[in-house]
Symmetry: C2
């Protein structure tokens, strides 16, 4: 079993690539839920949905979130009704949130609800939210305390952040299967997601970081920082705020207590040379997943770095349009 | 104040007509909520919404329910996710249900939630659900007990009905303003809605029927039966099941304890002649509201039959597209 820790956007691309070079049944994807929000009365799990959509090839490539070819008529009408509209849910996307919310209201926990949604989408990989308990990423900023989506979407992350906290994390339990899958993993991969606000919340759930420290299996991280800046989003600024360099060295720092392999972009070869040491292997490749082929190639590279055979038949395991 | 009792479709047309021939502020519309349902986890009030949409000229003329120019992309996606899809909510329409449901979940009752929605739509008429308490119209049928929408929409009312019941009605209270508006009315109009399942639930809320019996004001009903059959829907069959004729005589029977004026279609002139008596005035006109002008003309006729001056300026009070 290959275990992937991930947030949305960049991580979703790598997960999509991985599902094409190994049998999806071998993948367990542990997803950040610190960004989850109640929106229009619905429970929205943006990162979980990005992973689900990516796994069926439905994630919008233009936007990097939401569903391909979606429309926003309900959103426009919500606007006309004076409802908040800064967080956009598409008409197709709404079906996911309505379905999940109905399950949660019926008393189901987030992980079985996610499994049921995945089954409805005929996803063969295992997608696990990090926890069934609410964990909320909040940021203390120059303009007060904001929830993650308020900072990221509403304020377009253009506010200085003083501190990131994961409310509820101290009493959250890892979702059923999370610790077990880490313990049984052939490899653990940290996707190129924001180390502070995407991977950070997962690691903040008691027991998960310890599980990573304890396993002998190779743990590899793909750097979300390329050429000294985040490929997308505020990873650079937030890493600086944490006192880490906003370079691949910062990524290594974020995961220093358990990381075996750091996969960086070729653009960072000089920095990679400096970072290499007894306890850390640093490999460089093309990490910008700008095409379906690039996704697959990076996925293959990561697996090889972990010493895992993909066992993919020629043409891979694509289960949906690429 | 002119008080209208109504269900959806036909009633909505008359309400639309009335709002154009009197100042909308003079209208209080008391709406059936026995058809309300929980759908996709949302509280849907189909008749209330038909009235709201009609009052702003947004009610779909093609379908007679939902919003004009709506699309059904979320519905299609719900279908793909294996969710129930026999009750169609449009993408635009969803905004109404999301907004209302959020209000109800926040602890608001149905009547203030309705008032807030009406205000957001800039509706000047007063729209009151019959009760803030849940009343559920259920039908004992040849195929078991069905809720109204299951019978009406899912089964296309093609099942024999043995009995209609209004669950919860005995402990329901009229919504705030309902009894007061009846007591203060210049006229009460029963819209051409199904006497059994549209007006019936309203009259089943304790206190409302008594209020109609007690007032001196003219109470007029527009027959939903034309030429011995319902203009639309199962009114004929359900009236028969109640032991009433499925003619305008059945409509008179349904309301016999309080009705002053029955407005029937010209097609029913012979029956009208037989029905006329000391306690019941029966007037004939064109009751098929097949055009905006026909709606206005019927509305005007009804007001005159009640002895109410419309006071409409030439061109009426149209507040939205007709």
């Amino acid at each position: 079993m290959i275990v992937v820790f991930t947030g949305g956007t960049g991580g979703a691309k790598l997960v999509h690539g991985l599902a094409q070079v190994v049998a999806p049944e071998r993948l367990t994807v542990i997803v950040n839920t610190g960004d989850d929000l109640e929106w229009w009365g619905l429970h929205v799990s943006p990162d979980v949905d990005s992973i689900l959509y990516a796994l069926v090839g439905l994630l919008s490539r233009d936007r990097g979130w939401g569903m391909d070819s979606d429309s926003f008529r309900c959103l426009e009408r919500m606007q006309q009704l004076g409802q908040p509209s800064w967080f956009a849910l598409g008409d197709l996307d709404l079906a996911t949130h309505l379905t999940r919310t109905a399950m949660l209201r019926a008393g189901k926990s987030l992980s079985p609800a996610t499994a049921e949604l995945a089954a409805k989408l005929r996803i063969r990989a295992r997608v696990l939210p990090m926890s069934d308990d609410p964990v909320t990423t909040v940021l203390d900023t120059a303009r007060g305390t904001l929830k993650f989506q308020e900072y990221f979407v509403r304020e377009r992350h253009q506010i200085e952040v003083h501190r990131v906290r994961f409310e509820g994390a101290h009493r959250a339990r890892p979702a059923p299967g999370v610790i077990e899958s880490i313990a049984a993993a052939e490899a653990v991969i940290l996707a190129p997601s924001n180390p502070v606000t995407s991977i950070g919340p997962i690691l903040a759930v008691p027991g998960i970081r310890d599980a990573l420290r304890q396993i002998k299996t190779t743990i590899a991280a793909v750097s979300p920082i390329v050429g000294g800046a985040a490929v997308s989003g505020p990873a650079g600024e937030l890493m600086k705020m944490m006192g880490w360099p906003s370079t691949i060295a910062g990524v290594a720092k974020a995961y220093e207590d358990f990381l075996d392999v750091l996969i960086a972009d070729r653009a960072d070869e000089p920095e990679a040379a400096r970072l290499r040491g007894e306890n850390l292997q640093v490999l460089c490749t093309n990490t910008i997943m700008s095409s379906p082929a690039a996704k697959r190639e990076l996925a293959q590279f990561v697996l090889e770095a972990c010493g895992v055979m993909s066992g993919a038949a020629p043409g891979g395991y694509a289960q949906a349009k690429v």
